[in-house]
C-alpha cells in the first residue's frame, strides 16, 4: 500500500502519560512522527492531539484502532491533508535588508498576508500562517535572496469539516 501523509486527530483527557501512550503506538511500529501538536480543545479538560506521519492506510488504521481502545482517548480518527482545514504558523528571522527589497517586501505584506512583529537593527521577525507548502515557499525565497537568519514552525493546527454538534456528540 502506498505511503501518504496521514493526520491522526485525537481528543484526549488532559492527563499525564496520555501523550506517551499515543506516541508509543507509533514507536511500536517503527514510524517516525513528522509533526505533533497538543493543545487545549474547545471542551475544558480535553486536549486535541494532531499527529502526522507518512504511512500506509493499513498502518494508520491499526494505530487508530489501538488508540481507540485507550482509556483516556475519547475520540480518534485519521484523515488525509485535504480532508481537514490544516494550517501551520511560521516565524522568520530575516535580515533588515528585507525592507530594502521593496518589491519582495510588498509582495510579502500584500500578497502573502505576512506580518511584521518586531524590527531591530539586526533583524526583522515576520510571521506567516498557511499550508506547509506556502510556508516552505516563503522560506526558500528568503534563502535564495540570502535574507533568512532563522526560522521556526508550529505543528499542525487542524479543524474538521464537520458540524460542531456531531463532534460534541463524539466526545461528550
Amino acid at each position: 500500500m502506498e505511503n501518504k501523509e496521514f493526520i491522526v486527530l485525537a481528543f484526549v483527557n488532559n492527563q499525564i502519560s496520555v501523550l506517551n501512550r499515543i506516541t508509543s503506538a507509533y514507536l511500536k511500529r517503527h514510524i517516525n512522527i513528522e509533526s505533533l501538536n497538543v493543545s487545549e480543545s474547545y471542551i475544558k479538560g480535553i486536549s486535541t492531539v494532531v499527529i502526522s506521519a507518512i504511512i500506509s492506510e493499513e498502518t494508520v488504521e491499526r494505530i487508530v484502532n489501538q488508540l481507540n481502545n485507550n482509556i483516556d482517548i475519547l475520540n480518534v480518527n485519521y484523515f488525509l491533508q485535504d480532508e481537514l482545514i490544516y494550517k501551520e504558523m511560521a516565524l522568520y528571522k530575516i535580515s533588515p535588508d528585507f525592507i530594502k527589497d521593496s518589491l519582495f517586501f510588498n509582495h510579502f505584506l500584500n500578497r502573502l498576508n505576512g506580518k511584521i512583529i518586531e524590527i531591530s537593527n539586526e533583524y526583522i521577525i515576520a510571521e506567516k500562517s498557511g499550508s506547509k507548502a506556502e510556508l516552505d515557499a516563503l522560506k526558500q525565497s528568503l534563502e535564495r535572496k540570502n535574507l533568512l537568519i532563522s526560522y521556526a514552525r508550529s505543528g499542525n493546527v487542524v479543524l474538521q469539516r464537520e458540524p460542531v454538534e456531531s463532534l460534541l456528540r463524539k466526545v461528550s
Partner: protein, 566 residues
C-alpha cells in the same frame, strides 16, 4: 476528627478488600515497606503469598486470574521489583488477563532525582498495560483503585499498573469507597449489534454446508462455553478451539476437532482449510493460529465475533463483524439457528479424526523399542488417571504443545498456558497462582527442563505454603522446541540448545517435596497414579525421548495445508 483518618497503605488494603481481593502475590522491598507494614495487620483478611522472585508474583497472579476469572493482584517494590514484573505484564496484555499490579515508587518530591531504587515504572509499562496510573497522594487511592479494577476486568481484560509513591502510602486520608462508574464518554460502552447483522449471520450459518465454530479465549472470559456448545449442538456445527480457547469445549464432545494452529491437531487444521464458513468467537487470528494468511481457509467466509474492535480485519479480512461480548452475541444468534444434517461435513471430520488418531498412535503412544518415554505418552497417561476437572498448567515449548494436544478437559478455565508471548518460566508460578485460586482442584503442571529452571526457585513458595502442586518435569536435556526447529530448518545444527541438567528430583527433595525420577517406561504409570493420589506437593522428573518432535507442525511462513507430519 484526625483519628478517623487512616494511612494511604491502609486505604489501599481496604480498597483491595472492597474489590473482592482475597489473595495477593508479592515480594517486599524498601519503598513498599509502609504497605507491607499495614499488611501485617490484615493477614487474616487478605492472604499474601510470598514468592521467591517478582516475576513469580506476576505469573502467579496470572495463573490465579486465569483459573478464577478474577483479576490477579501482585505487589512489588520500586525499581528492580517493578522491572521484574514487566515480562508478566506483557504476557497478560497479550493474553487478555486481568491484573492489577501495584508497585511502589519513591516519594513524590524525590521523583526524577535517581533516588535509590527509582525506575520510571509508568514509562516502562506504557506499551504493555491497558491502563496505568501513578498515585502521588493518599486522597486519590480509592477512586483510582476502583477505576483500576474496573478497567482490568471490563471489555477485553488486561493488566493495569498502579505506581504507589511512598508519601501516598504514609499520608493520612479519610476513607470512602464508591465503585467506579464509567462515564459514557464514548457513547455506549458496547454499541448494540444491528439486527440486520444478526440475521445475516444466522443466514450465513444456516446456508453453510461446512460451518466451523472457532472458540477462542473470549468464550472463556465471557463465560460462554455452554452457549457455544449449545450453538454447536443446535446447528450441528463442528467446533475447534484456539490454543487459549482449549477447555472452553469438553475434549470428548463429539463435534470437537481439537485446537488448530502451528502445532494444532490434524483434524482442526484440515477442517479450517475445508470449511466454507468460519464462526470465529473471541479470538484474534494470531499468526500461530492462521499460518501464512493468503493460504488460510481458502474456501471460507468468516464471521468474526469479538469485543475488541481493533481485532477486526487486523490479520484476516472478515466478511461479517459482530462487535460484542461473546455470550451476548451467541444468545442473539441462537434463536435463528436451524439444525442441518451436514452429513458430508461430519463424515469428513470423523475421517480426519481417525487419520489423526492413527498418526498419534503409531508415532507416540506405542512403547518404543529403545524403551524411551514419549512426552505424549506421559501427558496421555496423566490425562487418563487424573480427575477430569483438574487444572492443567504448562510452560512453553514442546511440553506445552504436548500438554495442549493430549490433555483432556471437561470444564472451562482448566487449561492455563502462556500463548501470545510464549514466556518460558511461566508454568511453575502460574500453577502456584492456580492452586491458590482453586484450592479444591488438582493442579498439574507440565514443564520442560529449560522452563522449569527459569523459575525453579518458586519451589520455595510451594514448600513454604505446602501447595499441593503436581509437577511433571519432561526432561529431554534439550530446549526441545528450538532443537526441533534446528533439526527441521537449520540442518540439525544444535546451537546452544543442549542442556546439562542437575538432578531435579534431588532439588525437589531439598525443598522437602516428594519426588521421583522416572527413567523407565514401565515405571511411568504407577508413579503417575501415585502423583494423582498424593495429597501434598509432588514432582515427577521424567527422562523423555531426547530428540522427539511434536507433529503435525505448520512451518513458519506456510499455510495450514502444508503441515508436516514427520
Amino acid at each position: 476528627m484526625e483519628n478517623s483518618k487512616i494511612t494511604g497503605a491502609e486505604a489501599m488494603l481496604i480498597s483491595l478488600q472492597k474489590e473482592g481481593v482475597d489473595t495477593i502475590f508479592g515480594y517486599p522491598g524498601g519503598t513498599i515497606m509502609p504497605l507491607y507494614d499495614k499488611l501485617f495487620d490484615y493477614q487474616q483478611q487478605i492472604r499474601h503469598i510470598l514468592v521467591r522472585h517478582e516475576q513469580g508474583a506476576v505469573h502467579a497472579a496470572q495463573g490465579y486470574s486465569r483459573a478464577t476469572g478474577k483479576p490477579g493482584v501482585c505487589f512489588a517494590t520500586a525499581g528492580p521489583g517493578a522491572t521484574n514484573l514487566v515480562t508478566g505484564i506483557a504476557d497478560a496484555m497479550m493474553d487478555s488477563t486481568p491484573l492489577v499490579c501495584i508497585t511502589a515508587q519513591v516519594g513524590y518530591d524525590k521523583l526524577g532525582s535517581n533516588f535509590f531504587q527509582e525506575a520510571d515504572t509508568i514509562s516502562i509499562t506504557i506499551p504493555l498495560t491497558k491502563w496505568s496510573y501513578q498515585i502521588t497522594s493518599a486522597s486519590e487511592i480509592t477512586t483510582i483503585m476502583s477505576k483500576a479494577f474496573y478497567i482490568a476486568r471490563s471489555g477485553r481484560p488486561g493488566p493495569v499498573l498502579i505506581s504507589f509513591t511512598k508519601n501516598a502510602q504514609t499520608e493520612l486520608t479519610r476513607f470512602s469507597y464508591t465503585p467506579y462508574k464509567p462515564q459514557q464518554i464514548k457513547g455506549k460502552m458496547l454499541p448494540e449489534i444491528p439486527s440486520v447483522s444478526i440475521s445475516e449471520a444466522v443466514n450465513m450459518i444456516n446456508n453453510s454446508l461446512m460451518p466451523l465454530i472457532i472458540s477462542g479465549q473470549g468464550v472463556l472470559i465471557s463465560g460462554a462455553s455452554d452457549k457455544c456448545m449449545e450453538l454447536s449442538q443446535k446447528g450441528n456445527i463442528p467446533i475447534i478451539t484456539t490454543l487459549l480457547g482449549i477447555s472452553s469445549v469438553p475434549t470428548n464432545y463429539i463435534l470437537h476437532g481439537g485446537f488448530a494452529g502451528m502445532h494444532g491437531s490434524l483434524t482442526a487444521n484440515h477442517m479450517i482449510q475445508k470449511s466454507d464458513l468460519l464462526i470465529a468467537i473471541g479470538m484474534r487470528f494470531s499468526d500461530r493460529f492462521t499460518g501464512e494468511i493468503p493460504g488460510f481457509a481458502p474456501n471460507a467466509k468468516i464471521i468474526h465475533i469479538d469485543i475488541d474492535k481493533a481485532e477486526f480485519d487486523k490479520c484476516v479480512k472478515c466478511d461479517l463483524k459482530l462487535h460484542g461480548d461473546a455470550l451476548q452475541t451467541i444468545k442473539l444468534i441462537m434463536p435463528g439457528i436451524k439444525y442441518r444434517k451436514r452429513e458430508e461435513w461430519i463424515r469428513y471430520m470423523n475421517q480426519v479424526k481417525i487419520e489423526d488418531r492413527n498418526m498419534i498412535e503409531s508415532m507416540y503412544l506405542k512403547e518404543k523399542k529403545s524403551g524411551s518415554i514419549s512426552m505424549a505418552k506421559v501427558v496421555e497417561s496423566v490425562a487418563e488417571w487424573c480427575c477430569n476437572d483438574s487444572i492443567i498448567v504448562t510452560d512453553v515449548g514442546q511440553n506445552q504443545m504436548f500438554a495442549a494436544r493430549f490433555s483432556k478437559f471437561s470444564n472451562p478455565r482448566n487449561f492455563i498456558t502462556s500463548g501470545g508471548l510464549g514466556t518460558m518460566g511461566f508454568g511453575l508460578p502460574a500453577a502456584i497462582g492456580a492452586i491458590c485460586g482453586k484450592k479444591e482442584k488438582d493442579v498439574i503442571i507440565f514443564t520442560g527442563d529449560g522452563g522449569f529452571q527459569m523459575s525453579i526457585h518458586e519451589l520455595g513458595t510451594i514448600m513454604k505454603y505446602n501447595l499441593p502442586v503436581k509437577i511433571v518435569v519432561l526432561n529431554n536435556s534439550f530446549l526441545g522446541m528450538v532443537r526441533q526447529w534446528q533439526e527441521l530448518f537449520f540442518e540439525k545444527r544444535y546451537s546452544f540448545t543442549e542442556m546439562d541438567n542437575p538432578d531435579f528430583s534431588k532439588i525437589a527433595q531439598a525443598y522437602g517435596i516428594l519426588s521421583y525420577k522416572i527413567m523407565n517406561f514401565n515405571d511411568l504409570e504407577s508413579k503417575i497414579k501415585e502423583m494423582i493420589s498424593h495429597k501434598g506437593p509432588i514432582l515427577l522428573e521424567i527422562d523423555v525421548t531426547k530428540e522427539e518432535n511434536i507433529f503435525p507442525m505448520v512451518p513458519a511462513g506456510k499455510s495450514l495445508d502444508e503441515l508436516i507430519t514427520q
